[in-house]
Symmetry: C2
Subunit: 306 residues, 2 copies
């Protein structure tokens, strides 16, 4: 039996993670819902972010309101800290004035004017100025595919395509700070974030931020144009002058005209094979690691032609 | 006693990792030897690399010979793969022709000419065309400060300022692929590297490469100009055309006129405090992680005025 198994193994060359993703059947993918697909458009490129309302519903509602109010349009990338994050901010206000046809026009100026409604402060404000922490959620209701390797920080795995870590004692789960994770900036108090400053991880996964800040999703396309931005030279990588910033042309949710994306279903057989192949790389690799950390897996994403 | 300890703790606010590094005494630092300090100069910035001859002496001898022969001058950054590596290559040849005074002049052309000596092939070739793997070394002789957290890949820690992983059974240790680690490109056979193609990690630590490729050091200054380079759009992040590449103006070892660098002594009390502070962050952090992965530590480096 051992000989036969060896022969079979030799006859079936191990597939690379990329091969496995390329060969995965349609059933191994889940569509990214357009209402959770956010495009951040800049002169330097466009980033597609999938939001995760299963993990941070209040923050995502706040971000949605800001996006619909046009508050990110005319905002800017204010911070790029090497091996850490790229961060962008909404305009200080006012909201765009929506015309009857639904088309949006930016009210003049970058501070509140009589014609505008400052999000969080004016009448009809679509979200509170600060939001309570959404650092974790009940693990119940999530189907978690275990990582299969020891995680330095907490037992971890994948739920609905997201890298998650868990705490058995509290029965909670949370999104992990891996490359591309998108979170909501806050000041020192835990609840000061209002969704108007967002960041994406562009370095080694800063997992020490897990459960210390609210994650709302991850970049699924286009991060390379943002991770390659010049680093800010001020403290924490903030740009020292507005001239160094990259403006946000438009931030909007997907429409029928946009490319569609699919994320690998992390409960699928294809993902199990992908995870195994990431854990024990072949080909170039002489000594497979026999383990992988959560952030070295990167759940596959594909763009599909409508 | 417990109360007193609590009072003392309250009276001494926890220092951040940065505070600890800033306050570390002179005795907590070791100088980077000029003969191990390599500058990679480009129009986009200069990177300072500390080489680790304790870990890869043959590869470093080969790199040294290539540098002294001027083979990297006129080379180029040929690959930038997002969340992975930036890679640069020596000119195909010939070597610079050294004048009697030791000053170097680049022989015309980028392929071997009668006046030049192609490294590894011509008479007097300073190193063999290929080098045997230097993926690990005996742990004996290294003083290893343990990480103090569970490492997904292998028991790990710090030796002489380097992040290292270990295998008790084989009694070996090796440099780990953390952000900034510098390695020697190779083809599929394990011994095809000759030191003429080097890479630096610019993404989440690809620890699966540990013991699969020879690491020779790490970037201790200036990586941000290189991690921010445009990503290559060819397979594996290679640039498709030479016009996209960034040239290497000069690659050279340090002289007395250069800035000097020091790396924190990882056997010092200051480093123990730094590691503890990285493991349990305070200030902004509401819930300290109680653990850290190897690559989230980043041994402090400082520039000293001669």
């Amino acid at each position: 039996m051992i000989l036969l198994a060896a022969l079979l193994a030799a006859a079936t060359p191990a597939l690379s993670p990329g091969d496995i993703a390329a060969a995965a059947p349609a059933s191994a993918w889940r569509a990214v819902a357009p209402e959770n697909l956010l495009f951040v458009e800049t002169p330097r490129g466009t980033m597609a972010i999938e939001l995760a309302p299963d993990f941070a519903p209040a923050h995502i509602a706040a971000i949605r309101a800001l996006v619909m109010a046009g508050r990110f349009d005319g905002g800017a990338i204010t911070r790029v800290q090497d091996n850490y994050v790229v961060q962008w901010a909404a305009r200080p206000g006012p909201d765009k004035v929506l015309t009857s046809g639904g088309a949006a026009a930016v009210a003049a100026g970058s501070t509140a004017t009589p014609g505008g409604v400052a999000v969080g402060t004016g009448p009809g404000a679509p979200h509170p100025a600060t939001l309570p922490a959404e650092y974790e959620r009940p693990a119940k209701g999530l189907t978690i595919t275990p990582l299969g390797s020891v995680d330095t920080y907490a037992p971890s795995g994948f739920a609905k395509g997201w890298p998650v870590a868990t705490d058995k004692r509290s029965g909670t789960a949370w999104l992990a700070h891996c490359y591309g994770a998108v979170g909501v900036g806050r000041d020192n108090p835990p609840d000061t974030g209002d969704g108007s400053e967002l960041y994406a991880v562009i370095g080694h996964g800063p997992r020490h931020l897990d459960r210390n800040i609210t994650l709302v999703g991850r970049v699924i396309d286009g991060i390379a144009d943002f991770s390659a931005l010049p680093r800010g030279t001020g403290p924490l990588g903030f740009y020292k002058t507005p001239g160094e910033q990259t403006g946000l042309t438009r931030v909007r949710f997907a429409t029928a005209a946009d490319p569609r994306f699919e994320v690998m279903d992390t409960t699928s057989k294809a993902f199990a094979a992908y995870l195994a192949a990431r854990t024990n790389r072949t080909g170039f690799f002489i000594r497979p690691a026999g383990a992988t950390d959560l952030c070295n897996v990167q759940v596959p994403v594909r763009r599909v032609t409508p």
